[in-house]
Assembly symmetry: C2
Homo-oligomer: 219 residues x 2
């Protein structure tokens, strides 16, 4: 990550950075997020950040590397946020799951700019042709699915969700619903309907005790 070398002894000390790397990444990320990878020029980033192109290339290497660094940070942030919201005692696992689904839908519904999720947008634009993006987006989604599955297992242990359901499959379905709400929001669907999707999904989760259709699930 650090591009400085300075092996062994050296008579001098380098000039320090004058810009805040985090702030620059934020601004550059906002550009990529809004205009996409191909739609964002390094000149635009230089202009928006106030950096000269020499500094930009010196610090981040190039457009692709800069994008990947931002994409990585976003993926890490989003997976951490999900984990923070879902990990906890078995006791509140089901409530946390519902709250997470509602919160995700609510955020998307409130996003009147249709700014959406950077992970989704980056994957949609680049995943097909850029393996670096594919592996990162895939890994992020796998992590989120794993956290969802763990929470679902907790809810099963506590007796809130049907113990007969396959937690991994259910988690992947919940993740699909969340990504689907995102896609619908991106396409301009009303906020109310997005939130009702979340409620409908929650209402169809296989609650423990009640008869559920999981008997016919395994194909």
């Amino acid at each position: 990550m650090d591009r400085t070398v300075n092996y062994g002894y050296s008579g001098g000390v380098a000039r320090p950075r004058e810009f805040d790397e985090e702030a620059v990444l934020d601004i550059a990320g906002e550009q990529f997020w809004t205009k996409g990878y191909a739609g964002t020029s390094m000149d635009a980033i230089a202009g928006a950040t106030g950096l000269g192109k020499g500094s930009l290339y010196g610090a981040f290497g190039g457009k692709h590397q800069l994008f990947l660094q931002i994409f990585d940070a976003y993926c890490a942030r989003i997976t951490d946020a999900v984990a923070k919201g879902l990990i906890g005692p078995d006791d509140g696992a089901y409530a946390r799951l519902c709250a997470h689904i509602r919160a995700a839908a609510g955020e998307i519904a409130a996003d009147t700019r249709h700014h959406g999720c950077f992970l989704a947008k980056g994957a949609a634009e680049l995943s097909e042709r850029d393996p670096d993006v594919t592996v990162r987006s895939r890994r992020a989604l796998e992590r989120i699915a794993a956290v969802l599955a763990e929470d679902i297992r907790a809810a099963q242990r506590h007796g809130d969700l049907d113990r007969g359901a396959d937690a991994d499959q259910l988690a992947t379905l919940v993740l699909a619903v969340l990504r689907g709400i995102e896609a619908l929001g991106k396409a301009g669907m009303d906020a109310g309907r997005l939130e009702s999707v979340a409620e409908t999904a929650i209402s169809l989760l296989p609650r423990a005790g009640k008869a559920s259709e999981t008997d016919s699930a395994g194909r």
Copy 2:
């Protein structure tokens, strides 16, 4: 759509087109689909189609109009295909719904290139900043949701799905699941898991006769 003028009488007749408009739109669409709007140049389209830029601009007006025309055609094709697959007698409505969900997931799972859905990709890239794209993608999804809802109502009438469920909400949820599977596929998730998402979703549909959780649905 037709750019020719020729008001009233005119002494001559114009030179006819030498290219197949449909074929050109297909090729240009493939470029947009693969490389995105910003990532595709009119020169690349001219090169791929063999057309000169004069013909290209003369026939389609410009990059944005060309894209919209292709996008429109894709939306129409996809909505028609869904309608064709879902509209029918109440008798097979439930089976058609399941088959549609399975087929959609199967197609995405089989799409090893992660080429995905042009509607989703176009909306992801442009919807935020291009109202023309927003309205088109939104309208297409609304139509698909309406067809799904109609099929669900048919299945309810026939007694395959719970009559107490709100068909519109259920349809939007199914649509979200479908778009979510698309997003997961785009991000590189295994084919097997995508198909299991479809099965899990089908298994959780509120079947008639069995107790379902819709009582707690309305928040």
